[in-house]
């Protein structure tokens, strides 16, 4: 605080006291305002500076093409990819479950049949006890049937384990769905900000696209909202072969 400002404040403070002593409300208010002004000025200046900075940051943010690219293309793409992961794991898990569901009763039938055959043979062995050759053969078959029953039990336990392992699909799916919701929220917020600051949407430049192609796009997703994905992406090996053939391979 410089000397003249100090003097001015002192003058206001004395006038404030004087006004208080003589009960002059109006003069008191004026002097109080004058004193407070000195305090408020730096705050106003600071708010003004911050406002300018926020404005500049927002303008820089809005004119940065990366933001619009992120909000309009990359985030929806990431979301579609995650959805596709859920679909793929769902298909894989259901395929595995279907096979387990088929294999379990097959195992049951094998075991039932072996069990029945085993007791039938035991009966034959009892009635034909004097036929030692037959009894020996029956013993051999019975041992084999015992191993079928044992291994059948092991197989059933393992098939159940295979089934339980498919639980990952539910858990990973739930986690991915949370990330998808997060992406959607972020995307909506960013689009809102973009519309406020930069109403014209930026087109992805050709340079960006070729850079992305070099980097690799990952597996193509058939559910992609972007129509160009379908048009410019092969669907299967036949498409690949056709394309290569058309290029003279």
């Amino acid at each position: 605080m410089d000397e003249s400002e100090k003097l001015a404040r002192l003058a206001h403070a004395r006038a404030l006291l004087a006004a208080l002593e003589v009960d002059d409300e109006a003069a008191f208010a004026v002097e109080l305002d004058a004193l407070a002004m000195g305090q408020r000025q730096p705050v106003f200046e600071e708010v003004g500076r911050m406002t300018r900075e926020v404005h500049q940051a927002l303008m820089a943010f809005a004119t940065d093409d990366r933001l619009s690219c992120l909000a309009e293309a990359e985030m929806p793409d990431a979301r579609d990819r995650l959805r596709y992961v859920i679909t793929l794991t769902d298909q894989a898990a259901n395929r595995t479950l279907a096979l387990v569901e088929e294999a379990l009763p097959v195992t049951d039938r094998l075991m039932d049949r072996s069990e029945r055959l085993r007791s039938e043979l035991a009966q034959v062995a009892r009635t034909q006890a004097d036929n030692s050759k037959l009894v020996t053969v029956i013993q051999g078959i019975t041992e084999y049937l015992d191993s079928v029953l044992n291994n059948g039990g092991v197989l059933k336990t393992q098939l159940t384990e295979v089934m339980m392992a498919q639980e990952f699909q539910d858990l990973s799916g739930q986690l991915l769905q949370r990330v998808i919701v997060l992406l959607e929220t972020l995307e909506a917020k960013m689009l809102g900000l973009l519309q406020k600051t930069h109403p014209v949407s930026a087109e992805k430049t050709e340079a960006d696209q070729s850079a992305a192609l070099r980097q690799g796009l990952g597996p193509a997703i058939p559910t992609g909202k972007n129509a160009s994905v379908k048009a410019d992406t092969v669907k299967n090996q036949d498409d690949v072969d056709d394309l290569l053939a058309s290029l003279g391979f």
Binding site: L97, L104, T160, D170
Partner: protein, 128 residues
């Protein structure tokens, strides 16, 4: 325990419904129906004479905890045994489910023996 009892399995993931259904079949239960969230499950429960409800927690539409509360609030269903099979693992949630009147709570990932143990326990208590 009556192996012929009618069971409703509620989960938004078809994989999980299929797994639970298979485990229940292995335990000898044959009357099993499915629903993919509380909104579809509740009318089924109200009409279907179910003896047992197995439900997930986190589902779109009506969640498992809301389904449980709706079941307990309905005089016709209030005594239906309910087992939650869910990935929700916060203590607070388990307490919430207990306060809402759940009969058993299995946290995913789980296994066949755990499911059997919880079901046995529920019906031991229900019958005693």
């Amino acid at each position: 325990m009556d192996r012929n009892m009618k069971i409703l399995v509620v989960d938004d993931f078809s994989t999980m419904r299929r797994i639970i259904k298979n485990l229940l079949k292995e335990l000898g239960f044959t009357h099993i129906e499915e629903a993919d969230d509380g909104t579809t499950a509740l009318p089924m429960l109200k009409q279907g004479n179910f003896d047992f409800l197995v439900t997930d927690w986190n589902m779109p539409g009506m969640t498992g905890i809301d389904l449980l509360k709706a079941v307990r609030a309905d005089p016709a269903l209030a005594h239906l045994p309910v087992l939650m099979v869910t990935a929700e693992a916060k203590r607070e949630q388990i307490i919430m489910a207990a306060q809402a009147g759940v009969n058993g709570y299995v946290v995913k990932p789980f296994n066949g023996p755990t499911l059997k143990e919880k079901i046995d326990k529920i019906f031991e208590r229900v019958q005693s």
